[in-house]
Every structure is written in C-alpha cells, then in structure tokens.
Symmetry: C2
Subunit: 332 residues, 2 copies
C-alpha cells in the first residue's frame, strides 16, 4: 500500500517554535470517493502566517490541529479523479497541507494555466502572496505617482511584488532586507530605487537617506525594529496596510504599537487586512501580474527546498529571514 | 482710547501647562482699514487642540506665537464695518483669538442664522466640534445600524454629538465620562444607552459589560487609560477615528500606541483626521445638526465661564476634564 508522508503539528510552541513542534508521520494514501479526486502534491508553500496557525490564540482563522498535518497551500497533480471537473494529470492550486497526498471534493481547487511556468508561481506571484501584495497595496496603500513606498522583506514573497507594483505605478520604491546580497538583488534584479539593510546601526538615518521626500506608504509585513525606525519618517496622510508582523509573531504578548499622536497629527491611516477578504475585489489581478511577469516587468525569485522532511527546518528559517525569495518545498 | 484686553501666550509649557504660561495684556482697540471690519468678540471657544498650539513641536498647524494672543474660535458682533459684506450688528463666527476685539478683512467670517439660539452653539454643535463629530463619525466611523460605538469625554463638545449621532443612525452608543454626574447626564439627557465612569477600578470589565456585542467604532478623543482598557474589546473590522488624545497632550513624548497585532488580526482601521480637511465633504452637516437640535433630537450642553481673564484657568481645567459640556468664555 503506498504511503502518504505528512508533517504533523506535534505540539503548540510558546514563543519561538522549534523542530520539536513537528513530527513526520505516515499514513496510507487515501482513496478518493465518488465525486472526489486524489491530489499528489508537487509543491508546498511555506508562509509566515503559518506561525499563527500553530497557536490557538484568537485569530482570523482556526488553528491547525495538534496531531494533524500542518495546513498550507499546495500545487498538486490530479493523480486520480472521480470528479467530472478534473482529469488525471491536471495541475491545480490547492490547500492540501504539509503532506504528499490528499483527497478533495474539488472545492477550492483551481486549474493552472499550463502556459505559465514554473507552476510554483501559483504559490507566490500568482497565488496568495501576489494577491496580498496587489490587493493590500491598491486597496489600502492607494499608490499615487511620485510618492514613496517602503516595504520590508523586500526580496520575499510579498515584498518583492509590492515594490515592483509600486514602480509600475510610478512611485519611488525603497526596500528593506537582511544583508547585502538580498539588498543587491532587490535593487539590481527587482528594480527598486534603493534597499536598506536592516542589519547594522543607524537604521532610521539610512532609511531617511533612501527616502528624501519621506514615506507615503509603508507596507507593513514585519513590525518590530523596522516599524519603530521608520515611523517618524511617515508623511502627512501616509497609509500603512498592515499585512504581517513576522518580527512579532514569536512574542507571547504583542509589542506596543506606534503612537497615536503621530497618527493624529499626520492624519495617517493604519489598517489591517487579510488577503482572502480583499481578493474578490481584484478579479483581474492575476491576469495583470501574469502579463507583467511574461513581459519581464515583474521578476520573482523562488527559493526551493527539496523534500517534505525539510519543511520544518525551512519554515523555522523563514521566520528568521533565512530564505531568499518565495519559499516552497518541492515534494515530487 | 478704548482698550482691547488680550490673553497672551507668555511661554511654552513643558508637560502640564500652568497659569504662568499666560498673561493678560492690553492694547488699543484696533481701527479697521478700508475693506475691514472691527469684531467685538462675544464668546471665545476653549478646546483641547489649543494645548497643541501652545507647543512648537511638529503638528498640522503652526504654533501660537509667544507674546501674541492665543488663537481660538469666537463668536463676534460687527462693531464697525468698512466691508460691504458685513453690517454693524451682524453676528458672525470668527477665529479672532483670546481677546475682546480684532479686525478682519472678512475672510473666514460666516454670518450666523439669528434663528438658532444661543449663538454660542456656533462654537460647539454648529461649529468646529460639531463638524468634528459629524465628519469623523461618518467618514471614518462608517456607522451601521446595530453596531456599538464608544466615545469618551461623552458629555463634552465632541463626544456628546458623536454619541447622539450614533443613536440617530441606529447604533448602540456607550459613553465614557468622569464621575457619576456626567454619566447620569450622558444617559438621561443625551440618551446614550450606557455611560461608564472612567474613574475607578476594573475599567475594562465595566466597558465590556456596557458593550455586550463588543465595539465596532471607537471614536478616539482621549487616548491614555481609556484607549488601553477598551482596545481588546474591539470587534473585527472596527474603525477608530483618531480625533484627539487629551490624556496624552501633556506628555513630553507620546505614549506607545495600540499593538499592531490586534490591528492585523482584527482588520481594524485606525485613522487620524483634522476636521478642516473633511469639512468640505459634509456641506449639509450643519443644516442637519441644526434641524435635529430644533426638534430636540440632539441636545447640547454649554459650560459658560464669564470674563476673558478666566480663560486660562478654564482652559487648564478643560485639560483635566473639569468642564461639563462645551466650554466657552462669555466676553461681552
């Protein structure tokens, strides 16, 4: 009987998670019932939000269950079909979790355009992270030509798209990233106007130097020291889409936030969002992003790890910024 | 020669201002030139924002000048006119500052509807505070029937209007005020559903008890302990118009703000605003407010102090919540 390898959530972390919170499990490959398909997962997406799913505190989504496979986005091949909407060999985006196989009744599966390669883009530029960048920037960022945008994790899954979209909209795009290699990539490959290394002294001064006209949009996906450093640099009427707080996810209590006096005096808008809620407002986003990608106007780096068993280590590295580009695990 | 008494800004405060930051001055009543009018000020408005004008830190408006009269809104009678748009005896709203007389070229003067009494309403419900409540609630609060709104300083110039507007829009309105007398007034006279005394223990628990369905709109005009107490009670998609932070104005450095994690997880919108920038979007606000006032649907309490020389003490009391209703100084 073929085996379905899975990464199970073994226990919930307090503070920084470790490999001990996960375990490798095995179960039989499931059989699709009438109306179902068997998914063979080709790629697994690893994303910062998964840290939230490991905990059972209040959040916008239910936590992953202890003893069950971790949740996560996947690209899968239809290995067997008893559902008339899918044929064996179809490639779909899915949400099949940290495992090699899964069954699905077809809900939430979307066939991928075979012309767009690599298929793992469906977990990045043309998936949740790309939509997060697009919808968060357009809906809350309200970008205007000539303005200045700052985004951290600028070589990562979301930040890379945010900055390149800002450039396409006529803004100055300033990235923040960890280390000279990533900063070089952000400027030379992704085409940002500048990139500031968050490691090192005088972070505020270096961000200020990269933003001579101040900051109109701060796309917040890290929090922590970067947020504190740049807060005084925000311009009047700045917009701050709050998309993620990776620097804060392992804190058992949230850090204090930016002072309300600055928000008042500068008439700043700070708004949290979850991509799934904005997604329906941007039905053409993926077509636009795919077109720009084909034309070379948007570049996208994927950081690919081989083998399901590597997922926990890769995920823990993601929380420390060790990935370089959108992190995926190649499963097959 | 007649004398114009003035309250001058003598020095800028560090932290809590005192009477020593002001001084009474006298100068000759000015003579209007061709095109100008002489204003005899009848009422002076005292408002929390004036604390900001006393300092020269970064803000949305220039500070008051040391040695000059403090700035402020007024209701004035045209005492002499060399401007064809105004006749002697007209009553106008103006921004003539803490003094008994001023000249004006007419810019910014608006004739008052003689049918709406008392004329000091033009400094409250039918002036800047009323518009602050109306525009901030409508533009940023986005009130929806059945939701719950909380506003502090609920018996005050802005808070009283915010809560009564919320009631008119079908919301549950919960006030926060200092002491049982104000709380009784907020519920029995203004018609709020509940009012919580911010003095005393277990503030969060008492606010929670008054908001059984959580908080959808927190109209922020105080900051400090009230903000910290109610932050965890905000619902998903809550809106927080940031209008004022009276509890924070005397701090030399701003207090830390609410954590971004809650803003993210609950998709909260926090937005600072200045009434003058939203004013043009609500051209019918005063007509509506005046109509509701005439019909008794909105009540408005004015706390009137007699004599210019009382302005500093009354203003310092305002910063401590000693006023009861919209604070004005009757000058003549």
């Amino acid at each position: 009987m073929p085996t379905n390898r899975q990464i199970l959530l073994k226990s919930r972390p307090t503070g920084v998670p470790s490999a001990a919170n996960f375990e490798l499990g095995e179960s039989p490959v499931p059989e699709p019932a009438e109306g179902e398909v068997l998914l063979r997962n080709l790629y697994l997406s690893l994303d910062p939000y998964m840290r939230g799913r490991m905990s059972d505190g209040p959040s916008y989504a239910a936590p992953a269950e202890v003893g069950k496979p971790m949740v996560g986005g996947t690209v899968s091949e239809i290995a067997a079909s008893r559902n008339p909407n899918f044929a064996k060999g179809d490639i779909v985006s899915s949400y099949a979790g940290w495992q090699e196989y899964a069954v699905s009744n077809g809900a939430g599966l979307a066939k991928l355009d075979a012309a767009v390669k690599p298929v793992s883009l469906a977990l990045g530029l043309l998936g949740m992270p790309g939509m997060t960048a697009y919808a968060g920037l357009m809906e809350i960022g309200q970008p205007k030509p000539g303005e200045t945008l700052v985004v951290a994790a600028a070589s990562g899954a979301v930040g890379a798209v945010v900055g390149q979209l800002a450039k396409l909209k006529g803004l100055r795009a300033v990235g923040i990233a960890g280390g000279p290699e990533k900063c070089k990539f952000v400027v030379e490959e992704l085409g940002f106007d500048a990139c500031v290394d968050h490691r090192g002294e005088n972070l505020r001064e270096r961000i200020a130097a990269a933003c001579p006209k101040g900051i109109d949009i701060y796309f917040e996906n890290v929090g922590g020291a970067v947020q504190r450093a740049l807060w005084p640099l925000l311009n009047n009427f700045a917009r701050v889409p709050v998309c993620g707080l990776i620097a804060d996810y392992n804190n058992t209590t949230p850090s204090p936030g930016p002072d309300l006096r600055t928000i008042l005096v500068k008439r700043i808008t700070v708004r949290g969002f979850i991509v799934t809620e904005l997604w329906p407002k941007y039905p053409h986003a993926f077509a636009e992003l795919a077109q720009w990608y084909k034309e070379g106007k948007i570049k996208y780096r994927i950081d690919e790890v081989q083998g399901l068993e590597k997922a926990p280590e890769a995920f823990l590295g993601l929380l420390q910024g060790k990935n370089f580009g959108k992190l995926v695990v190649k499963l097959a």
